[in-house]
């Protein structure tokens, strides 16, 4: 194993550095800085997905070890490389929806929580879909911030955001049919868009 200068490092990357009970997020942050990746980078989210992390902000011992094994990683440099491969893996259509759904669940921090506040949703949308669907996401985020009907978003609405981006032509929204089973929030969004452009 290539030796590491940082005091926290040992090879293989030790789970304890990221699971200390009083410094959970610090652990992740430290990991991030080692990986040279921003804490808010989507790749960390992808890692969480791959590791099937239950709770936001930290990995349990089990998750860490099982996950790394699955990645075939036993050193930081390998982890770094694995991250970029991970991006490709996530983008595979068969995985993408799973990852997308996971991203929402990851934000449910409280027990029995079913919805996520608008502010966080906007950030999450930007993070997860921003690159692939920039114009739609920018417009949708703008709407979410100005509308008053909903203060939180539930998983049903979340999953339909992805559907919307994938299926509906933008920005004309020609093929959107409000009589279909789209959630009401999207009906309202489309109406808002149409009014804006008329």
């Amino acid at each position: 194993m290539p030796p590491r200068a940082s005091k926290r490092k040992s090879a293989p990357p030790n789970s304890s550095s990221v699971t200390s009970s009083d410094g959970r997020s610090e652990g992740i942050e430290a990991l991030c800085s080692d990986l040279g990746v921003d804490y808010t980078d989507v790749r960390i989210l992808m890692l969480a997905w791959k590791l099937k992390a239950e709770k936001q902000g930290y990995f349990t011992q089990d998750e860490w070890q099982t996950g790394l094994k699955a990645l075939g990683v036993d050193s930081l440099s390998k982890l770094k490389k694995a991250l970029s491969d991970l991006e490709k893996e996530v983008e595979k259509p068969s995985n993408y929806e799973d990852f997308y759904t996971y991203a929402f669940r990851y934000c449910l921090t409280e027990e029995k929580q079913k919805s996520v506040d608008i502010e966080s949703i906007c950030e999450l949308l930007n993070l997860v879909l921003g690159v692939q669907f920039r114009p739609q996401i920018d417009s949708l985020i703008e709407y979410l911030k100005v509308q008053n009907d909903y203060k939180v978003i539930n998983s049903d609405q979340w999953i339909n955001f992805l559907r919307f981006c994938k299926e509906i032509s933008f920005p004309d929204l020609e093929n959107y049919d409000a009589t279909q089973a789209w959630p009401l929030i999207l009906d309202n969004y489309v109406e808002w868009m149409r009014e804006k452009h008329s």
Partner: protein
């Protein structure tokens, strides 16, 4: 001759002889002048027929043997054909005959008298010669000429007559033609000539007639010209789309006037008057349809759909109809016969059927009924019950079960009171008389429980009742509805004049305080009674600021009640009546904010109903697409209200969140029931 095989010779001889003979006749007919032409023709024809008969008899043997064998035309027929060819179709005669026949018809149409018998014979002759002869030589031209005639005449009439007059003329002409046919034309011509008249006189001018200013359809309706309307109906019925036109114009008129009525703020000020107006309108149109339009079902349907359309334009219609009923059941039906009561209630039911938001009506009806029952203000118990039965028949028992519960409570309370008085009669003695109605929560409109301290004088008996009741009904809770009661107070004023005051419970609480003090400030009253501010102010206003009912005197004399007011017992109060009613008034149309509140409550009540419908449907169908859910839900709820598709969608999403339903993973248009 036939027997001797000279049939051919005989036959051809016959032909030749007859032909030349006929040619002579033809000449003589042609020679006839003017009016005698037809006469001559007719006479010669009669002669010919007689001759033919004789010839046929003579040549009967040939007719039966030679002719069939050789496929020649039989004698009689031959005779007719020759007549036709030589005479009728002779150059000179053919056109002259046609012209004279048509001229006769024209003359008769202008009012002249003609020889109908002669005409009859001639047309009969043409028919005998063969239907195609009648048609080609006469009928065809007759129809053409008639068409021209009526085209011109109708144009003339339409310029000079109003609608009613025109229709009379058209009817007259039509009848004339029918009569003409029966007298001297072939019966099969009737439908053809009537068609001509219908087309030229009615169909061509249909629209102009209906829309005619000052005399068209709308004017007839407004002025109730039943005869003219009936005539129009009968005539227009004969042409395609005639009735459709009448119906459409009438329908859009009804819709427009209805819409105006429903959106006119002046009209809407008095709900009772407004509803009466609606009923009158319906009566008027019903009468038109029965007396002039032969009770035509399609017109009935058009009327119903028009009413349904505009009644629902105003969201307050349900409330107003309930107020109308309230007014009638309170006083309007006093002295009315049972039959007439039923008639009126049936008419009200008819308006009720038009309502889309029947659940809103139910809410108001319940409120108004509660007030009526509790204040004992109903004119006729039978009438009340009769209406409930009608509502039940229309909407099912669920609609009326609570209403019936209210009646039951009233009856039960009577029994309870009897029992109470029986057991406590002796205790009461000189004390205040108590009458209690025990209401089952849930059957009656929900009321907020308000604070109110009852006067000491009646606390005793109230407690006695409470104990009595709870003694016989364990496990129940009673709370005094101080905002709904009434009291009769015996009051003695300055000069000893006594009056009996009928007041609300709140008013009683306030007035009783003046037994111990002649003047009290607002604050003091508020403190002792603990009646909520809004109600207290309204109560004091009714006791101090209403002319003829001011048993209290207010300082200062302003109209509104403020915290700093002082109240005095008005010992100078006078009234010419012994009994004075100061209590709360009858049901009134809600103020705007009250209306908003009721509407909100209605919307809240609808949500669970919609959800229940969705769950019922999905449980049965398991998987269903969005549009179908909306359609089914609407169908299920339409007897109560028309659900908003957006609200339905919201309910579906709520059910998804609560995991009753899910979106199908394969086909995103579908929803799936989760067991």
């Amino acid at each position: 001759m036939v027997l001797h095989k000279f049939g051919e010779k005989l036959y051809s001889g016959l032909v030749t002889t007859m032909t030349s003979h006929l040619k002579e006749i033809s000449n003589s007919i042609e020679a006839a002048q003017g009016g005698l032409f037809l006469d001559e023709l007719n006479r010669k024809w009669a002669e010919h027929n007689k001759a033919l008969q004789m010839i046929r008899d003579i040549l009967m043997y040939m007719d039966r043997t030679f002719i069939p064998n050789t496929h020649k035309t039989p004698v009689h027929e031959l005779g007719l054909n020759l007549w036709r060819d030589v005479i009728i179709h002779s150059h000179a005669i053919q056109s002259r005959l046609q012209a004279i026949l048509l001229e006769n018809v024209r003359r008769e149409r202008s009012g002249e008298v003609i020889d109908r018998g002669l005409m009859r014979s001639i047309t009969k002759m043409l028919m005998d010669l063969g239907p195609s002869v009648y048609q080609d030589d006469f009928e065809k031209h007759f129809l053409e000429v008639s068409a021209d005639f009526y085209r011109l005449e109708s144009q003339e009439f339409i310029e000079s007559c109003d609608c009613g007059e025109y229709l009379k003329k058209a009817e007259r002409r039509l009848n004339e033609e029918i009569e003409r046919v029966s007298h001297y034309l072939d019966t099969r011509s009737e439908v053809k000539i009537t068609n001509v008249v219908e087309t030229e006189m009615i169909e061509s001018h249909m629209h102009r007639l209906v829309q005619m200013e000052n005399s068209g359809l709308i004017n007839m309706i407004v002025d109730e010209k039943y005869e003219d309307l009936g005539r129009m109906y009968c005539l227009f019925r004969r042409v395609s789309n005639g009735l459709v036109l009448i119906r459409d114009v009438m329908t859009s008129y009804i819709r427009d006037t209805g819409k105006q009525l429903l959106t006119d703020p002046e009209r809407l000020k008095d709900p009772v008057d407004f509803v009466q107006h609606l009923l009158d309108l319906k009566d008027k149109y019903d009468k038109i349809i029965t007396s002039a339009f032969r009770n035509d079902k399609t017109f009935q349907n058009a009327l119903n759909s028009s009413f349904e359309y505009f009644i629902n334009l105003n969201s307050r219609s349900p409330e107003f109809i309930s107020l109308f009923v309230d007014d009638k059941l309170r006083k309007g039906l006093r002295g009315v016969t049972e039959e007439d009561v039923e008639l009126l209630l049936d008419k009200v039911m008819m308006l009720f059927r038009y309502l889309q938001e029947k659940d809103v009506f139910e809410k108001y009806y319940k409120q108004h009924l509660a007030k009526r029952l509790l204040s004992g203000k109903s004119v006729s118990d039978d009438a009340e019950r009769s209406l409930i039965v009608k509502l039940k028949t229309e909407c099912g028992y669920q609609f009326t079960s609570k209403l019936e519960g209210m009646f039951t409570d009233m009856k039960t309370s009577q029994d309870t009171m009897q029992g109470f008085h029986a057991s406590h009669g002796s205790d009461i003695g000189d004390g205040p008389m108590l009458s209690v109605q025990v209401l089952t929560t849930g059957s009656w409109p929900t009321q907020p429980i308000t604070t109110c301290n009852l006067p000491a004088e009646i606390l005793g008996i109230c407690e006695k009742f409470r104990n009595y009741y709870l003694g016989t009904h364990t496990g129940r809770r009673l709370s005094w509805q101080t905002n709904m009661g009434t009291a009769d107070l015996k009051a003695t004023f300055g000069k000893g004049q006594k009056h009996e005051l009928n007041v609300s419970t709140y008013q009683m609480c306030v007035l009783m305080l003046f037994n111990d003090a002649d003047r009290l400030s607002y604050k003091e009253i508020e403190q002792v009674t603990e009646i909520p501010t809004f109600d207290l102010k309204r109560c004091l206003q009714s006791l101090a600021c209403v002319k003829g009912k001011n048993v209290l005197w207010k300082e200062p004399m302003s109209k509104d009640i403020v915290d700093t007011d002082t109240f005095l017992f008005n010992d100078k109060y006078t009234s010419k009546f012994f009994k004075v009613k100061i209590g709360t008034v009858a049901a009134q149309r809600e103020s705007e904010p009250e209306n908003q509140e009721t509407r909100q409550r209605v919307e809240e009540d609808r949500k669970p109903q919609i959800e229940a419908a969705i769950v019922r449907i999905m449980k049965a169908r398991r998987v269903l697409d969005h549009n179908n859910i909306v359609a089914e839900v609407t169908k299920q709820l339409q007897s109560r209200f028309l659900p908003n598709p957006v609200v339905i969608k919201k309910r579906i999403e709520s059910l998804i969140e609560r995991e009753f339903l899910e979106r199908d993973k394969g086909d995103r248009k579908l929803y799936r029931y989760l067991a």
